[in-house]
Symmetry: C2
Subunit: 187 residues, 2 copies
């Protein structure tokens, strides 16, 4: 019996965004603008309206982007945050981002992480989580964010993971509302 190999590959247009471009993002707003752009571009191409990226906190350099690939990969795990984590760890060759490079990496996401992605954050070795739209904004358009603990911010902070919320909130929320207005797939 031979079980299939599972693969995740960022779409060519994601690679294209960074070709010949400055990959240093210095402020929270610059980082959030990038992941909102990823969410928007992914949505326009029929994907889920979610983008994420991992940055070196000391230099602001992009390590790995992520977009929601649930539909094209037929995999419920493939949220933008999970893709960014998997690609970042592949680049650095470690399951613990605190052990490589600067050891201080930040996950920036266009929408607050769901229960799965929240649960993945402590294992990944991330030192900061920065969110755009709150979970309620994704829920307002019909996405289920799942059963996170009510004190999820405190749970991360207790594990020395800083949490920053509501960066470019209006722009982040607009991507979700636009997705709904265009009646795209909910899953």
């Amino acid at each position: 019996m031979k079980f299939p190999i599972v693969t995740f590959e960022l779409p060519a247009w994601v690679n294209g965004i960074f070709s010949g471009r400055n990959t240093y993002f210095l402020t929270p707003e610059q980082k959030m603008s990038l992941v909102i752009h990823l969410a928007q571009q992914n949505s326009q191409r029929g994907g889920g309206p979610f983008g994420a990226a991992i940055f070196d906190m000391d230099t602001g350099q992009l390590l790995a982007p992520g977009v929601n690939l649930v539909v094209p990969t037929a995999c419920s795990v493939a949220h933008a945050e999970m893709i960014a984590i998997m690609v970042a760890q592949k680049i650095l060759g470690t399951y613990d981002l605190t052990s490589a490079g600067s050891g201080r990496y930040e996950l920036v996401t266009s929408s607050e992480p769901c229960a799965q992605c929240f649960g993945a954050i402590p294992w990944a070795g991330l030192s900061r989580l920065t969110c755009g739209a709150p979970a309620s904004a994704a829920e307002d358009i019909g996405f289920d964010e799942g059963p996170k603990p009510h004190n999820w911010v405190e749970e991360l902070e207790n594990r020395k993971i800083e949490v920053v919320q509501d960066v470019l909130l209006d722009e982040a929320r607009a991507i979700l509302n636009d997705y709904k207005a265009n009646s795209r797939t909910m899953y």
Copy 2:
């Protein structure tokens, strides 16, 4: 800029276990025996002491096994439950297991899922979760199970996912204790 492709492949010994073998597992104990065997074999080969599998609830046929691949893939996401979910969805070609085959699939895991894998279960389209050792058993040997809601069983049952606990509890716990006794990597 070209980001790397992430791949997950079950080790050859996992494929080997099922070669020419009956892949129907009819009772909870038969299913749990299989995933405990996967956990034990993975542990003996230097992997994490965790095994999982997804079965068709109507026929008992194995759909996809999973073992913890965190160390060999250098990926914190690669818990046994996540591998089983990703392989199962790859086989059926859908991100929602309720939409394919019998539509009734069960995740059986040698240890209660951590916060990440708990959060992944509702998105996967699973209809039942069956656990061997409780989270406290993994925590007793030094694994962190992460911040799940205190009422996690109720949260799954509210989403029509049945939860069965403590199947072959002593055998499931023994794998964890053996891992600790052999001083293998904690992560």
